[in-house]
Amino acid sequence: MSNQKKLKVALVGNPNSGKSSLFNCLTGLNQKTGNFPGVTVEKRIGFSRMPDKSMAEILDLPGIYSLYPRSLDEQIVSEILLHHKTPECPDVVVVIVDVANLRRSLLLVTQIIDLGLPTILAINMMDFLPKTGLSYNLIELSSQLGIPVVPVNARSGMGVEKLKNVLMEHSDLPSKIIFNVFDEAKPGVEELREQLDVDNDYEAYQFLQQPNSLSFLTPEERGRIDQIKESHKFFPGKFHGAETVQRYGFIQELMDKITLEQDDPLIESKSTKLDKVLTHPVFGYTIFFAVLFLIFQSIFAWATTPMDLIDTLFANLSNYLKEVLPPGPLSNMIAEGVIPGIGGIVIFIPQIAILFAFISMLEESGYMARVVFLMDKIMRKFGLNGKSVVPLISGFACAIPAIMATRTIDNWKERTITILVTPLMSCSARLPVFTILIALIVPDKMVLGFFNLQGLVLMGLYMLGFLAALLSALVITHLIKVKERSYLIMELPTYRWPKWSNVGLTIVDKTKSFVFEAGKVILAVAVVLWVLASYGPGDKVERAREFVLIESSNEVLTEQALENRIASYKLEHSYAGIIGKSLEPVIRPLGYDWKIGIALVTSFAAREVFVGTMATIYSIGSVEDQTTIKSKMRSEINPETGGPRYTPAVGLSLLVFYTFAMQCMSTLAVVYRETKGWKWPIIQLSYMTVLAYISALFVFQIFS
């Protein structure tokens, strides 16, 4: 199979045209996500079995309305489709259009036809037609465009086999050219074709139109393009407008020829009726906040059972291995370092799955666009964009995909601000920290009959993070001075039921990327931490028993108390203990001891490591006692007061610290990639750490 050349297919279409559904139909679970080289636009590739049993590689490109890019996402599409001289260039382009939006979609279709790659038009949602009373002559459409037209239903999968058959056979270039380059532009286009050896007129014309968005051009080629533009007086803006008008002229004629039955374009659709409620000044916001509340309550309620199960499972596995494996440093590392580390990754899966199920349902149903519509005016006041709502809400799951999602914001300033404040949204990695601390300091009881008090505190923390994000955005808006025009021109897709297989695939995809990408960091830190906590300078750790026996020679200790004392002595003199202790003066005003200090340091790599650190610290602290971390933390005594270490004041202070602090190396790395420099990640790290420290200090001093 590998020596055979795979058919490369690129999938192109408008946003909301059913492109992702078709991609999922073609590839099923056989897909992977990566990045396009050099940029961070997500690249989705899948493999599809063709009727002759060969495999085809399907590339899902970001949704676009036109070949002229306005954002990084859109730029990628132009780059892939215009770079013909690379093995990466697709063999066939499939353009998918939503039949209800045929006229608008044809603009993109005609542009792609003119690029001179084999092209197939897939018309989606044929079952939608009888309802609208609209009907088209597809045979005529095919002959007018000069490319094959295949009706498909990307939701039910109807027509997908037919599409595969056409894909197999089709290698012809489009038989027509829709738009002939203007006479005035001709000489420049011809010169460029000669100099750079470009296949066709429109491709060359695009090189002249947008050399700066095509990163594959060498500086030398770019220089030549600039010269040609100069000498032939090529004005990109003027030509672009005229080209669009000319294409629509063609489309109008085409529509007249192929339309068999016209619907009334202005019938009030079901969506419009629904929108009267869902974007209503009162009901709209009520429903939106109800949806958000439902999401938090479900994460809290539904994720608990599987999480407890995973917790117990890994605790038992760790115990079992400790008994079975021959004693020695390696066995210890596996049982106490690696296994709890893996457990610390797996335990997030239920939460991530539930959250992404909701987010993907909101996106699939078309409600997410209404959220943007509802929030735009408010978000604009804070220097954000209505589109910032999606990254911000995704930030509740994980800041990493959320920051990557800011790419849909065209305006640089709004995008940068969104990136800077998104990590303040309480991501799922904070959830385990919150859950443990809330369970420690907040009683599990009902208020007002049906609100769980713990759930309310959790919701409060989420609101706190959200408000901090908005206020920071407001401050940053006034600090960054740029005059760039911001706009929001966005389709409101028709409401529809989410396609469950799409929701399922999103969950699998997000979970996988979390386990394999964030998971690596967590596991590595867990093992390093175990080493730091198990070894120390000198012989104090190894000879802990002797030292403790000497120290406590005047006391009578039970066997258990002695063991505990040895264990805590070991930890205190390990490398981790030394780091934590040296931090103590800085964090004492917040109410933290050196053990929390260790956790703060290690969870800098990723917040959830806090829980892993606590597990390691306390399981090492009392080896014989295998109760869960929670009860260990609860029984921890503050030696100065004699009371519990985790008082409400310390707990709240920690909760606030974790809400604001930028404790995630992976997020910083993503910000570095997205902003192309260390400037913004450093600014972000500094302002968030200062905010966290001051707020936690404030909270502790008030409540203690």
């Binding site: 309305y65 202005l266 509802l374």
Partner: protein
């Protein structure tokens, strides 16, 4: 225009936005209906070319209509 009213687009008056608007189906001669506006009066939702499009008031003002 009031919600529910229908008009014909006569021209697009903003150079910067007009191409983007055209690509989204707002063409001179096309029928457009003002559907409703968001709770604070901005953005607005219009129907054009058989689908619904949301725009800020500022952007919508780039679309001139025939009376």
């Amino acid at each position: 225009m009031k919600p529910g009213e229908v008009a014909i687009i006569s021209e697009l008056v903003d150079d910067h936005l007009s191409i983007k608007l055209m690509e989204m189906g707002c063409l001179p001669g096309a029928t457009v209906r003002f559907n409703f506006c968001a709770p604070f009066g901005d953005p607005v939702c219009i129907s054009v070319s058989g689908y619904e499009l949301s725009l800020r008031l500022e952007e919508a003002s780039a679309i001139s209509i025939l009376n």
